[in-house]
């Protein structure tokens, strides 16, 4: 417990960031909420429409629902690649004796490359004419029948735009999880090994419970980043072909800045905020329940 004077000074120091947070995050959210009840194209008079934008969004907008389900697909692929990949690589790293730093750096490298460069890189990788890396590899492996224009095929484009985002941040989450894994007390692991625990038992009974708090944080981070994913799909396909890789974020952006329907775009953004909060709530709830059981 901090003495009174010290608590006051803590509050004084906390206030500026709190104000900044209020101005940069809370205020725009409230502004969006306010705008979502209006019809406004930026230059016309603002017309109060009540809940009409919400009714349109839930009942009359096929692109909204398509984007919502696409966003869930995008999230699932990103989470598998980022968290699954990160956990796998981090676990393997702990058993490596040499070259750890090099591998860590290599995996982290995509996280520091600019998004635009990554988008262009993957557009080339997926290309069919001229033949890109992926189609070339398939050809060399004798899987020529699988060659396709990955970004033009409505069945593959969503996975194709999700993979770069997943690949990009795997290294970052790997680093966080690796740091947690090496903090697992060695004596516990050794005791378990002496008791005859298998590698899997070691992982599920000792390592994973120990890194659970870190795992929760990374899951929340990856989920919220995934739900807000925008730049790579927007740059690679602009949501196309058709609406096959349209996410809620890209749809909201287009509604606001191409269609100049700021009222309706705000309605979508309010939905995104609620969706993120619900997702975080669900993660906390599920992991807490699992921990209790």
């Amino acid at each position: 417990m901090l003495p009174n004077r010290s608590r006051l000074s803590v509050l004084v120091f906390l206030l500026p960031p709190l104000l900044l947070y209020g101005a940069a995050v809370l205020f725009p959210i409230l502004q969006s909420l306010f705008l979502s009840f209006f019809s406004w194209n930026g230059i016309s008079d603002m017309e109060f429409v009540g809940l009409a934008n919400y009714v349109r969004m839930f009942t009359a907008d096929d692109v909204f629902w398509r984007s919502f389900f696409n966003a869930l697909g995008y999230l699932a692929i990103c989470l598998v690649l980022q968290l699954g990949g990160a956990l796998l690589v981090a676990s393997l790293l702990t058993s490596l004796r040499r070259g750890r730093e090099l591998i860590k750096t290599l995996y982290l490298l995509p996280a520091v490359i600019s998004t635009v460069a990554i988008a262009f890189l993957f557009v080339r990788i997926y290309s069919i004419d001229p033949v890109g890396l992926l189609n070339q590899l398939l050809d060399w492996m004798g899987l020529g029948s699988l060659e396709r224009a990955w970004l033009s095929d409505v069945n593959t484009v969503l996975a194709a735009v999700s993979a770069p985002e997943g690949w990009r941040f795997t290294g970052l989450y790997m680093l966080i999880i690796y740091a947690a894994l090496i903090s697992v007390p060695k004596e516990l692991e050794e005791a378990a090994v002496l008791d005859g625990a298998s590698r899997w038992t070691l992982f599920t009974k000792i390592r994973f419970p120990h890194i659970r708090p870190v795992w929760i944080t990374t899951t929340i981070m990856a989920t919220t980043y995934g739900l807000r994913g925008f730049d790579i799909p927007y740059l690679m396909t602009n949501g196309g072909p058709g609406q096959s890789s349209e996410l809620l974020t890209t749809y909201m952006y287009k509604t606001a800045f191409t269609s100049t329907d700021f009222g309706y775009a705000s309605t979508i953004s309010v939905f995104i905020v609620i969706e993120c909060l619900v997702a975080v709530g669900l993660i906390l709830f599920m992991l807490k329940r699992k921990a209790e059981s």
Partner: protein, 444 residues
């Protein structure tokens, strides 16, 4: 917490109210002769043109010349060549009432709303007052006009769009250049059989495919169909609409465009054509320096030729009527229009055409002659001369005509239609409901 929430809500409302009221100064779009002293200052032009292109280079030079006699004057050119990004920038600035002295825009429904609100100077009156109106090509001005024939934008270019083709590739497939639009699907099939990509297209930027949607209705009805369609008075289910839908589906079925075209960009498409892989390429005279000079790949240089937009049986428009855009136009902000802006425009618009024509480009005016570059192939002159023989009508690009939401949806659905992912019936019903839902908001 409740109190905090209430305070924040009030702040949000106040900020919005202030934004709504801010900068709404009185302006008059028809007052083109402002009186008073010329007070040199910096003026800005928000534009969407290539950073090192002729328009910017010439205007920079003219601004420097003007500044010699008007110390303190400067022209700040803020360019965003990527059109979708530019439009977003423009619309955001317009919403904030922060448009600069000069800004680029097409004759879009959004621009028409700005004009109706008196935010743009009447360009017809302005050009007449500056005594340059009659110098302009009627087609260059018409391209900038809204449907009610009012003119609020000044053109700085004049372009003609052709279908370029590779004679040797067509010959290899045993076909000749299309005489009618309806010949193209069969032509594509023959080219594909010979292992040749029929048409190179920049699918990423979406407007090139939208051009194809405009062709059949223009030949069938002239500008009538799109003018009605955008207001919801015509439908894709009408005969003219169905003709274009069926034709586009046929283009897709015949695999006219390169594989994976929807994710290929401007330079990818051009490379396909200039490297001799694709047989046809639809592009305007702004590409003359790369298609009709010695910069063109020597392997294909002798094989290249072009045709204007083919006609169809029973066509309503003539062969010399096709897409002849005068590019994005420049609008003058009425709020900041003063003796300085007026005087600078007078100076610049008088001198601009000769400087522009000297670069080998087509001027939007008829009082100057385009200089053919020394390294040009004979096609250069042939292309430039086409500008002297144009009909009265011109095919308007649909992306400047439709409301932005319908336009966005059309661009998306076109890709699906051409790729065969949706049927012509699905396309028709989706687009007709998109027009019905969005057009009324823009064309009240």
């Amino acid at each position: 917490m409740k109190k905090l929430f209430r305070t924040a809500a009030v702040a949000a409302v106040t900020a919005l109210a202030l934004a709504g009221c801010g900068g709404g100064g009185a302006s008059n779009s028809s007052n083109v002769t402002p009186t008073g002293e010329i007070k040199p200052r910096e003026i800005s032009w928000l534009l969407s043109r290539p950073a090192d292109g002729a328009v910017i280079n010439i205007m920079k030079k003219l601004a420097d010349d003007y500044a010699k006699n008007h110390p303190g004057f400067s022209l700040n050119l803020i360019t965003t060549p990527d059109r979708p990004s530019y439009i977003q920038k423009l619309e955001t600035l317009a919403a904030a009432n922060k448009l600069p002295e000069l800004f680029d825009t097409d004759a879009t429904p959004f621009a028409q709303q700005l004009a109706k609100q008196g935010k743009m100077v009447d360009a017809e009156k302005l050009l007449k007052t500056l005594n340059v109106y009659d110098d302009y090509r009627p087609a260059a001005l018409d391209y900038q006009r809204f449907d009610d024939r009012s003119l609020y934008m000044i053109p700085f270019q004049f372009e003609l769009e052709f279908i370029w083709y590779n004679k040797s590739l067509l010959q290899k497939a045993g076909v000749s250049a299309p005489k009618s639009l309806d010949d193209i699907p069969a032509l594509c099939t023959s080219l594909r059989k010979a292992g040749i990509t029929p048409i190179a297209i920049d699918g990423q930027d979406q407007w090139p495919l939208e051009r194809y949607a405009a062709y059949q209705p223009f030949r069938e009805t002239g500008p009538d169909f799109i003018q009605k369609l955008k207001k919801g008075e015509a439908k894709f289910s009408d005969p003219a609409g169905q003709k274009t839908v069926e034709w586009l589906a046929a283009l897709g079925k015949a695999k006219c465009f390169q594989d994976g075209f929807s994710s290929q960009g401007y330079s990818d498409a051009q490379n396909q054509f200039t490297s001799g892989k694709a047989a046809m390429y639809n592009i305007g005279t702004w590409e003359l320096p790369s298609l009709a000079t010695d910069k063109l790949n020597p392997a294909v240089r002798g094989d290249i030729d072009f045709i204007t937009l083919p006609t169809t049986e029973g066509t309503a428009t003539a062969a010399n009527e096709f897409v002849s855009p005068s590019g994005i136009g420049m609008a003058v902000n009425s709020k900041t229009y003063d003796p300085l802006v007026s005087d600078f425009l007078k100076f610049a618009l008088e001198k601009y055409p000769s400087e522009y024509a000297a670069t080998g480009a087509l001027s939007p005016t008829t009082n100057v002659k385009t200089a053919i570059p020394a390294n040009a192939t004979p096609l250069y002159k042939k292309a430039v001369e086409k500008a002297n023989d144009l009909g009265d009508e011109q095919a308007m690009p649909w992306d400047t005509q439709l409301d932005p939401t319908t336009n966005g949806r059309l661009q998306q659905e076109l890709v699906l239609l051409v790729q065969g992912d949706i049927t012509p019936e699905q396309f028709t019903s989706t687009m007709d409901s998109a027009v019905a839902q969005n057009a009324p908001k823009f064309f009240k």
